[in-house]
């Protein structure tokens, strides 16, 4: 039985991840996102009541699912629809996830991880199999009831289909029969029970036929019926028990199952073999649904996480939207927030609004501490969330699909200039290049900063120009001003000729009084990083600065 909530037609197995998912997670700070997806925010009267402890399984699930991108618009919409259903029926997804969790943890207690072996020990196997069958059957019954209850509220294809599949694959007949089987063998696992003030014990009721063959051995045994009956327990030493026993012993052609110790043992072996035989028929049931429960837990954890993320947005007052898929050359958004930073600092950060149409290369330059990296990360995070089917922290977000997403961020610890580092950086760049395809998006943040600006600019120019011409979409934050300028003048020349260069430039916005807004605007690349502003601020106007543009 399939869950099919993450994908319309396949389960979570062997899904292709981003090529260098580890770098993406680190560069975009996705771990914060996983952590918060695992922590539910509980609201009361519109304000935060408390934040729950982290659910490690959700964290783990998000960390797997989010770095395995969806590759088509249909896949994205499929998940978006389910999330919408979950947001509208939060109790449903909470209960479904809780039930899957309960089954998995009960199953763990029965030794899920120790595997499906140990059939040599008949008694241990039978007991485990009965408990497992009972657990699975009970769980399926619950889940089926839950799906039936919410069925009419569902809008999404995924949840509707799951509810329908469940009613077919675990139909009422199956449910009835598996309950009968469990009750038939209950003499094996159930002890005494108190009922109406008396103690009842579960006794087997078995009939079989056989033939006497060579050596008079009883062979060709065919079981006719197996059943358990609940019988009032009597102390064997009591008078009434003795009377009943005496009366029974008068029955012709019969003997007590406890006539001799040997017979008692043989009867036990008979019971044991019957139970093992009967339960062997449930192996396929367990097999069929063990994968289902594992998948269900994982897949519902993802949606549970999605709901939690929405709660975190609400907590910080961030608007959310379900992104729309557009052509790969376009990228536009309204009030896009850097969601990770918002959650880390519990703020509603400054949002950016851009419409970058028909551009394959976006070069972002400008002041330090001006919000360049934040801008780049906000796009990256939204892109990853969109490609996971999640809502993003923006009023509107529209982008293409890039299953080949790469980040190449120079990390602080990398910045020391030394040739070994440059080698490493180029090596990383090379492995990105080796894995490019026609749906690639590369986010570069201060790349080639491990060498001098002159060298860095030459390298950046060569690589970025080649990539751009090959049709790779690139967003790059750079302090390599001579590189930016060269690109700009080439772009200008083409514009003069009436061509569209497909290149655009962004800067951190700065009011005329030097004040920063942390917003990014489309503009001509600036020549300085406004370190001079700081200089001016702290020391005074530098004397050896002519202020010329070139």
């Amino acid at each position: 039985m399939n869950v099919y909530l993450l994908y319309k037609d396949r389960e979570w197995a062997g899904i292709k991840k981003y090529y260098d998912a580890k770098s993406i997670v680190q560069d975009l700070g996705l771990k914060t996102l996983y952590t918060n997806a695992g922590k539910d925010v509980v609201f009361e009267n519109g304000s935060v009541k408390n934040i729950k402890d982290q659910d490690a399984f959700i964290y783990d699930t998000m960390s797997k699912v989010m770095v395995a991108p969806l590759v088509t618009k249909d896949e994205i919409v499929f998940r978006q629809e389910i999330i919408k259903d979950c947001l509208a029926n939060e109790d449903f997804i909470k209960q479904l996830y809780a039930e899957s969790g309960r089954i998995m943890s009960e199953w763990d207690k029965l030794g899920r991880k120790s595997g499906y072996t140990g059939r040599q020990d008949l008694a241990a196997w039978a007991e485990k199999q009965i408990h497992l069958t009972e657990l699975f059957a009970g769980g399926l019954k619950e889940i089926k009831a839950l799906l039936k209850k919410y069925h009419t509220f569902f809008e999404s294809e995924g949840l509707k289909a799951l509810a329908e599949r469940m009613c077919i694959e675990f139909d009422d007949e199956y449910e009835k029969n598996i309950e009968k089987l469990i009750s038939d063998v209950s003499f094996y696992t159930k002890g005494n029970e108190d009922k109406d003030g008396s103690v009842y014990t579960h006794m087997p009721k078995i009939t079989f036929r056989g033939k006497l063959r060579a050596g008079l051995k009883l062979e060709d045994i065919v079981l006719e019926d197996v059943d358990s009956e609940s019988i009032k327990y009597r102390n064997p030493k009591s008078t009434i028990a003795k009377i009943v026993e005496f009366k029974n012993s008068l029955a012709p052609n019969s003997f007590s199952s406890k006539l001799t110790p040997a017979i008692e043992k043989q009867v036990e072996a008979l019971e044991q073999n019957i139970v093992n035989y009967a339960m062997s028929f449930t192996r396929s049931f367990i097999e069929k649904f063990s994968g289902f429960f594992e998948q269900l837990m994982l897949q519902t954890a993802f949606y549970r996480g999605a709901v939690n993320l929405r709660h975190h947005m609400k907590r910080s007052g961030i608007e959310y939207c379900f992104p729309t898929v557009c052509d790969n050359k376009n990228l536009s958004f309204i009030e896009l927030k850097e969601f990770v930073m918002c959650m880390e600092q519990r703020v509603n950060a400054v949002g950016n609004t851009c419409s970058i149409l028909n551009k394959q290369l976006v070069i972002i330059t400008g002041a330090n501490q001006g919000g360049k990296s934040t801008f780049l990360r906000s796009v990256g995070i939204a892109q990853v969330m969109m490609q996971a089917g999640l809502p993003v922290a923006a009023e509107d977000f529209s982008s293409g699909i890039f299953p080949s997403l790469f980040t190449h961020f120079t990390r602080r610890e990398d910045s020391a200039m030394n040739s070994g580092r440059l080698d490493e950086e180029l090596g990383r760049m090379n492995s990105i290049i080796e894995n490019l395809d026609d749906r690639s998006l590369v986010l570069l943040n201060e790349s080639f900063a491990t060498t001098t600006e002159v060298d860095g600019s030459i390298i950046a120019y060569d690589i970025i120009k080649a990539l751009n011409e090959a049709g790779v979409k690139i967003l790059t934050v750079t302090h390599l001003l001579s590189f930016a300028k060269k690109m700009y003048s080439e772009s200008e020349e083409r514009t003069k000729k009436g061509e569209d260069s497909g290149i655009t430039f962004f800067c951190a916005e700065r009011k005329s009084d030097g004040q920063r807004t942390f917003k990014m605007i489309q503009s001509v690349p600036e020549l300085t990083s406004f370190g001079l502003d700081l200089y001016k601020q702290v020391i005074g106007t530098p004397k050896l600065y002519d202020g010329s543009e070139d």
């Binding site: 036929r209 009956e229 028929f281």
Partner: protein
């Protein structure tokens, strides 16, 4: 008129040590597959026919088995005989008298039926071999005796009467009740709470109709009656007391009836059957076998000969094995085989040894066609790692092993020598090698001598030089031809480097992006 052994063994096989050449020729690996690890069957392969007649006797029997479709019948016979022995064992070992008499019925029934079946199967096949015909005649005299017919009938009747009884056991509220009924008086007992299914399995099949697990009979663990069964038997004996009296009578009249000749037959047939089964399986996966022609002239040649042991290993890895054609000219006694390392020299030498072995055993050989005359023995000498235990040098080791081989070799043996004297100086090695060759040639032995010294090819007019080949690319093709060639090495590939400058990167990107 008598019949003793289907293998023409003068006495039953026991405790023979494995011939020394099994390991060298990898025959032990082949036999492992043929006998599936059964030591008892293996023993028959370790016994060497004493003469050419014995070899021929077997070859004809094996041909009968192959061409007259006797495999099934004989296998059935062996299986039934094994089952019969099991019944006899239980009959002798059980402590319960009542059980002895019943085991006896079934033992007689199985034994007589088995012989009758074999007799009719053999009679239908138009047998050619002397061995099989002798067996048929002997069987005929057994099954036509009055005594045989009488005990067969009695056992048949008693067992079918017991079979007709149906035992129904109900276990409820801690008591077990037994109901015995005949097929005749089978009444449909109407119960109030009868389930909707006829058997519990019918219900269980709802969950998994492909479940192949069967109910395990808890009473079958021991062959004696369990306490539970004794109680059941009590009920049955009340019902049919007269049957038990007749069974007792049959036991008193007839409890020792086995002819050991048939027991020996059941054992010895395993030799042919195991090989037939192996050969059939190998043919199914595309390997070729043939019956060797065994002529009186000193001829030895084959087409499409291959190393069976290597073919088995290669097949597991999905590779095929190269086969070779060869012939010894009238004057040829020895092949001296030279050529590149890993060129198939040892493999070829082994396949020759295997050819001689299997044709001596009267079985088929791994080739398209073959012609092998009778050899008295097979002697092999393969180089081994230096022995740490003995502390002797490798050359010494070799000579110590070679000495008895040369001293005790019989005339007309087949000799396989692989890489002798590799640690000696070439000059010495050539002289020693020539002497060894001359010794065996003088004794009229045939054989093959694998060596890196091509000088040995020109030793004697009875020596023919062979060599392993390389193809036009200098790669081994494992073909063995009658000539000499020199060895050539293979070239190595170069490694490319990546570049990131604009021109070459743009170039690379064209390829990378097109790939997507």
């Amino acid at each position: 008129m008598g019949f003793e052994s289907i293998l023409d063994l003068k006495e039953p096989v026991k405790g023979l040590t494995e011939p020394a050449f099994f390991l060298d020729l990898n025959i032990d690996q082949i036999l492992e597959r043929v006998t599936l690890g059964n030591r008892r069957i293996r023993a028959y392969y370790e016994y060497f026919p004493l003469d050419e007649e014995c070899s021929e006797y077997r070859r004809l029997i094996y041909r009968d088995i192959r061409t007259k479709g006797l495999f099934e019948a004989l296998t059935k016979y062996v299986e039934n005989y094994t089952e019969f022995r099991e019944l006899e064992r239980k009959k002798k070992e059980t402590r319960g008298d009542i059980q002895k008499t019943v085991w006896n019925i079934y033992a007689i029934k199985l034994y007589t039926e088995n012989l009758l079946n074999l007799y009719s199967d053999l009679k239908e096949a138009s047998l050619q071999s002397a061995g099989m015909n002798a067996l048929l005649e002997y069987l005929g005299s057994t099954v036509s005796s009055e005594n045989f017919k009488d005990k067969h009938e009695k056992a048949e009747t008693l067992s079918s009467e017991l079979d007709a009884l149906d035992v129904k056991v109900t276990y409820e509220k801690g008591r077990i009740s037994v109901d015995v009924s005949d097929d005749d008086d089978k009444k449909d007992d109407e119960e109030n709470d009868k389930p909707s299914y006829a058997t519990y399995e019918e219900f269980l099949n709802f969950f998994d109709k492909d479940n192949d697990e069967a109910f395990v009979n808890p009473f079958a663990k021991v062959f004696e009656l369990t306490g539970f069964e004794q109680e059941v038997v009590k009920v049955v004996s009340k019902r049919i007391p007269e049957w038990f009296k007749r069974a007792e009578k049959l036991y008193d009249d007839c409890s020792e009836f086995e002819d050991t000749c048939y027991s020996r037959l059941a054992d010895e047939l395993a030799f042919y059957l195991s090989f037939y089964e192996f050969e059939t399986k190998m043919e199914e996966i595309g390997m070729v076998f043939c019956e060797p022609e065994c002529n009186a002239e000193k001829k030895i040649e084959a087409e499409g000969l291959y190393d069976l042991a290597l073919a088995l290993v290669n097949h597991d890895k999905g590779k095929i094995v190269v086969s070779n054609d060869f012939y010894y000219d009238d004057k040829d006694l020895f092949f001296v085989l030279t050529g590149p390392n890993q060129g198939g020299k040892t493999t070829f030498a082994r396949s020759l040894g295997q050819l001689v072995y299997f044709s001596m055993m009267g079985l088929n050989v791994a080739a398209k066609s073959a012609n092998v005359h009778w050899f008295t023995d097979i002697l092999t000498h393969f180089s081994v790692e230096e022995s740490v235990e003995s502390g002797r040098g490798k050359l010494m080791e070799e000579l110590v092993r070679l000495s008895p081989m040369m001293k005790h070799s019989r005339d007309n043996a087949f000799i396989v020598i692989n890489e002798l004297f590799t640690t000696a100086a070439n000059y010495d090695a050539i002289i020693m090698g020539k002497n060894v060759l001359a010794h065996f040639i003088e004794k009229g032995c045939h054989g093959i001598y694998v060596t890196h010294l091509s000088e040995l090819c020109d030793t004697d007019e009875h020596v023919a030089g062979l060599s392993a080949q390389l193809d036009e690319n200098g790669i081994q093709n494992f073909k063995i031809l009658r000539k000499k060639v020199a060895y050539e090495g293979c070239a190595e590939n170069q490694i490319k480097k990546y570049r990131l400058d604009y021109t070459s990167l743009s170039d690379r990107l064209k390829g990378i992006m097109n790939r997507a």
